[in-house]
């Protein structure tokens, strides 16, 4: 399953204040670990909301509102996308992350991303079919099955 890990903004991140060198290095080591575990598939930091805009929808009307936005704790300062086996695994990984503001208070939210399976299961016999490269794969599987003697 894929989850989005949302790093909430802090007063410091909204002020455009960068974490200390030590904190960034610790985060770098952590990210390397998550990459080498095959878990991290995307990650980005976001500029403070003062550089962002909101587009407000009201029926057919659209209103553009410039940042910054007030409710700091509800804002997002960065995100990553993890490919994990369970929500529990995502929690375990996130708990291991260093605090970007050592000694400070922050919050990270983990939200599962919708997947095809969430939209209802598909029926069964639809296995064999040819679509370009996929067919090569199936030939490999057939060959392998033959090698394992039908087991």
């Amino acid at each position: 399953m894929r989850v989005m890990v949302l790093g909430k903004a802090t007063v410091e991140s909204e002020a455009g204040q960068l974490p200390s060198m030590e904190a960034l290095e610790a985060m770098g080591r952590y990210n390397e670990e998550v990459v080498k575990a095959g878990v991290l598939v995307a990650a980005d930091g976001l500029h403070p909301s003062s550089r962002g805009v909101r587009v407000h929808f009201d029926g057919d009307d659209r209103t553009v509102v410039d940042g910054p936005f007030a409710e700091t704790k509800e804002l997002i300062a960065g995100y990553s996308i993890l490919e994990v086996a369970s929500l529990e695994e995502a929690v375990e990984w996130v708990k291991r992350s260093p605090n970007l503001m050592p000694g400070g208070v922050g919050e990270v939210e983990i939200r599962p991303i919708f997947e095809a399976a969430d939209f209802g299961e598909v029926s069964e016999e639809v296995l064999a079919q040819a679509d370009g490269v996929g067919e090569l794969g199936r030939a490999n599987v057939a060959k392998w099955r033959a090698e394992q003697g039908g087991n």
Partner: protein, 438 residues
Amino acid sequence: MITGWLRPSARCGWVHDVPAADPPPADPPANRAVEAVWRIEAARLIAGLARVVRDVGRAEDLAQDALVAALEQWPASGIPDNPGAWLMAVAKRRAVDGLRREVRLASKVAELGRDLATVELDLDVEDDVLRLMFTACHPVLTPPARAALTLKMLAGLRTEEIARAFLVPTPTMAQRIVRAKKTLADARVPFEVPTGAELSPRLASVLGVVYLLFNEGYSATAGPDLLRPALCDEAMRLGRILAALAPHEPEAHGLLALMELQASRLRSRTDATGEIVTLLDQDRTRWDRLLIGRGLSALDRAVELGGETGKYAVQAAIAACHARAHTADDTDWGRIADLYGVLAQVAPSPVIELNRAVAVSMADGPAAALALVDALVETKALARYHLLPAVRADLLVKLARPDEARAEFERAAALTDNNRERDLLLTRAKACDATPTG
């Protein structure tokens, strides 16, 4: 996903088949957190231990012992601050105890104790994880044994999960794993990443196992059991680990690119009723842009490293042609045909020739493709393969030769054991009657 792997247990009751070596299933919520830690730590734990005990089977047993201890203690005590170090400490203690029982040689015990003291779950352990991958995929093992050991030791899956994924009874899989461990021990397979001339074939074996796991999952993505499709995720995770731990190997990136590009289309492969949607008819807006982006960068990396003609990189390049085309009509079939030509040289196979023929028909028309297909028919290599007459029939329709096309469709229908496919082929055979003879 582990929840996906474990959820079927409630319905299927495989808990009764759990072999003695495996800890109890992790259904209670407290155990799910332990299981999550296990997923994260298993490979590094086993790998770190294997470096010292020099026997991956034994290392895996020790790690399993530590997991059992964790399942006993953590639900009450809570997960320790450094769960990996906790598991490693328990496993080390068991290693020393075990050796004491076995040899009663104080010096040997002291030696092992000293070696174990040096094993920590630090960054060095990553090299051990890579060694573990090469060992689990060692050619002394049969391909299914390689796949099973890889899932068990690198992905941290339970024996019954692996059994379900491969549609075999749990005791069969448990036996396969025990035998595989014994084979590795008997053959005294060294715990190392091979070097020199040995590296290339051994790496090919690792890549082959990962891709086979992916294909097992891919061919079942429309099936009723979500456990098998989860193999795609496992394979991609392994592929990402491999690309991160062996970043200078172009084919590691080529394979990752291939898997990510193919997986980007998984969710558009079936329609709302579960019918397969062929590549050219898929809703491309549903393709997974994140995976496409990752796949294209991995392919770039493979090419930068000089791996342009690697078996996996070429297949990834073909998949990339589809990924880059915003509509089916935009597909660069000329390039796909060329890439199949390259692939036919690096990994010759009649199935690849058949795929090349399809690409040539899209690029240069049916007549050029028919010549290739007829050459294939002569080799008799694909005599029982229904897609050969099916493709030939399709070309004959385009060339306005309906009588021959009908015969080929009927021949293809007789060769397939998939009912739905047979119906489709027979319908197309009938449609040939309606076409005026050309």
